[in-house]
Amino acid sequence: MAELAPVYLDNAATTPVDPQVAAAMGACLTLDGNFANPASHTHHWGLAAADTVEQARSEVSQLTGAAIEEIVFTSGATEANNLALLGVAQRYETGHMISVATEHKAVLDPLVALRKQGWRIDLLPVDADGRVNLQQLEDTICDDTKLISVMHVNNEIGVVQDVAAIGALARERGVLLHVDAAQSIGKLPLDMHAQQIDLLSVCAHKFHGPKGIGALCVRRRPPLRIGALMFGGGHERGLRSGTLPTHQLVGFGEACRLARATMATDMPRIAAMRDALWSELQQLSGVLLNGSLEHRVAGNLNICVDGVEGESLVTALRQIGVSSGSACTSASLEPSHVLRALGRSAEQSQASLRISFGRFNSESDVSVAAADISQAVRRLRAMAPA
């Protein structure tokens, strides 16, 4: 029997570029295309590129609710997060910032850097579902709090935070809100003004756009001034110098356009595949779901599997590509900080799988994944000491 083609189920790590996105990008690279520097206003090639970039900016605007002039293009969400946190910090000598224990390293690491500069940083715990307690957040805000940074959707467990409620609280207390929306853009409705978000980080590659492009949306009404991290030309209103990559921006814009067109039909289909796989995997004993199922982005399934080691489990999977939460890189394991924040023990956290569906998965992928995971778990459990 011919071996089945492997199935990509790691869409939370990155997604394949949509063919329509790739075609749009391909038209911006060569002499017969829209290849020029958008800052070159002395010839028609440059003017055409500038026009294309502004069309892409308009697409990002329509998906995020940010105004055109609020969008600062960056190399991705990591840079956007750094610009938001370090850029706000430049306005003050020191102060207090609040974030969450389950944030991405692209937020946690800049906060560590700020702590070394004298900033006071509080990381809020989450409940067993992975959600922030709003009362605890309110109690943590003090006179010196300058910024709250909360991710919209967690990259490991897919849990959705109530950013609108957090935005209302932050606005009421006069504190800035930064939201890392890398995992929610194109999957959940976003409107930075309706949700009272002051700084919004997004990127293209999590929803079938290219890697290497993102944006920080910076509130303009009333104007919010932050410091720049990159200098050399004053592009993006002085907040991010560097030649704009026309092809990347066109890809980002096209991914936004497609997401707006397909979100309403794609997300329920993707959630149904995720739910079907979870239903199948519950047939195995000792499988736990990490994080809320109710407050969860469509494609994400994150499970702990008892009695097997995480890296071996991922290596034993022959038919699917997924992520694991732990790796045996030394004599001691370092389990995922997100799973530990949920209250999972070190032993439970050792074997976690993140399975993430995307636009190009189909219903038949569910049974391939269920069979592959079940077979691997049974084989490894049979090999383990009692």
């Binding site: 009695g307 097997v308 080691e309 890296e311 071996s312 290596t315 034993a316 732990s326 790796a327 045996c328 890189t329 030394s330 004599a331 001691s332 394991l333 070190a346 032993e347 050792q350 490894l380 049979a382 090999m383 383990a384 000491p385 009692a386």
Partner: protein, 117 residues
């Protein structure tokens, strides 16, 4: 981290997983620490029979499997193996060499248990 061809081959198709009751068992490591190996030994006419059970990363499972291959059929006093033999054969990088050491520790505990029989 990528594994060597030898590790993947043994991880995917281990030949020496213990299925029956053995005469003596030596254990090293623990599940809580992330890896645990049991080496099972039996003597038949002074010739060793060896098998393993393991919980851990692919290099842990491959180390245990290779060690059992070296032990099987050897003289019952054959307990002089060092972890370097496993490290070389499986091309274990520095970050994985503790897996070979764990297998050796389990083997020594198994020989100790066997000697007491």
């Amino acid at each position: 981290m990528a594994h060597s061809k030898q590790v993947l081959q043994r991880f995917n198709c281990p030949q020496h997983v213990q299925v029956d009751q053995a005469e003596a068992v030596g254990t090293a490591g623990s599940r809580l620490a992330g890896s645990q190996i049991e080496i099972h030994l039996s003597r038949r006419d002074k010739v060793l029979q060896a098998g393993f059970k393991a919980y851990g990363c692919p290099a842990t499972i491959a180390s245990a499997d290779y060690l059992c291959e070296l032990l099987k059929g050897a003289n019952a006093k054959f307990d002089e193996l060092e972890r370097h033999a496993i490290i070389r054969a499986l091309e274990l990088p520095a970050a994985r060499q503790h897996c070979a050491a764990l297998a050796i520790e389990a083997m020594r505990n198994a020989f100790e248990a066997l000697d007491k029989k």
